[in-house]
């Protein structure tokens, strides 16, 4: 690496490194998107599936969440957008999850589920996963190469 650096070269290096870091830090957005889709599938299975499907969904979701946590801990870089969004997304996801649990326990009838109840259960499943999907989309959008990121964290 050269020892002297001119101002134009310095700006180019800043952009190169910044783009590299932003590409590497997009894992969190992808993980949130996958978890959101997984959450929708999980809740659809739990609310509408027979006992065996619920058992598989429960084990599958549990293993998936553990794998996601291990994956997140193994990453080498964390971006400011994810850092900023982690508590709003977690809080909203906790609320939608509680809503889905209450819906399954107290609202959804065990028998005689017509198309209306199925549609309601699907809607609750989708809503439960929405905070993760929206959070993931926001992270991917704000860390994309086209987005210069200056307003991302309000610190630049």
């Amino acid at each position: 690496m050269q020892e002297e650096i001119d101002p134009r070269g310095a700006l180019d290096e800043i952009e190169r490194v910044r783009a590299n870091v932003r590409r590497s830090s997009r894992w969190a957005g992808r993980l949130l998107l996958v978890m959101g889709v997984g959450s929708i599938a999980y809740w659809a299975a739990m609310l509408l599936g027979p006992g065996a499907v619920q058992t598989v969904a429960g084990w599958g979701w549990g293993l998936f969440v553990v794998s996601a946590i291990i994956f997140a801990f193994r990453q080498g870089v964390y971006d400011p957008v994810t850092h900023r969004l982690q508590w709003p997304v977690t809080g909203l996801y906790a609320l939608t999850t509680i809503g889905a649990v209450l819906f399954g326990l107290y609202v959804l009838p065990e028998d005689d589920r017509g198309p209306g109840w199925v549609a309601a259960a699907v809607a609750v499943s989708v809503i439960a996963g929405l905070p993760l999907i929206i959070g993931g989309w926001r992270v991917l959008h704000l860390t994309s190469d086209r987005h210069d990121g200056r307003e991302v964290d309000g610190r630049r």
Partner: protein, 101 residues
């Protein structure tokens, strides 16, 4: 001394330290190994420059373990972020030929 180049922060204006600061400015925090691979330097060279940035109060170093593996996390301090923002502004003044206010 009115030329903006005199306002360039000498701590940052060195190839490896510039790359470290640029990487950390784009991240909330980054692992030592990630930084080493991103800016393509040896462990020893990276450590040497991190010490300089840490002594300047620009970089925060956090050592810990994940299981039995040691990990070193690096992040910019508020002072470091401010210094880097000012440094890039000076660079732009120079490259765009804007005189200092």
């Amino acid at each position: 001394m009115t030329h903006p180049r005199h306002a360039l922060d000498e701590v940052i204006h060195a190839p490896v330290r510039l790359s470290i600061m640029a990487a950390l400015a784009a991240a909330e925090k980054a692992d030592f190994r990630f930084l080493r691979d991103t800016i393509e330097v040896s462990d020893s060279l990276l450590s040497k420059h991190i010490v300089i940035l840490e002594e300047a109060g620009y970089v925060h170093v956090e050592k810990g373990f994940v299981g039995k593996r040691p990990r070193t996390w690096l992040s910019l301090t508020p002072r470091g972020r401010e210094a880097f923002t000012k440094y890039t502004e000076v660079l732009r003044q120079i490259t765009e030929g804007i005189p200092r206010a």
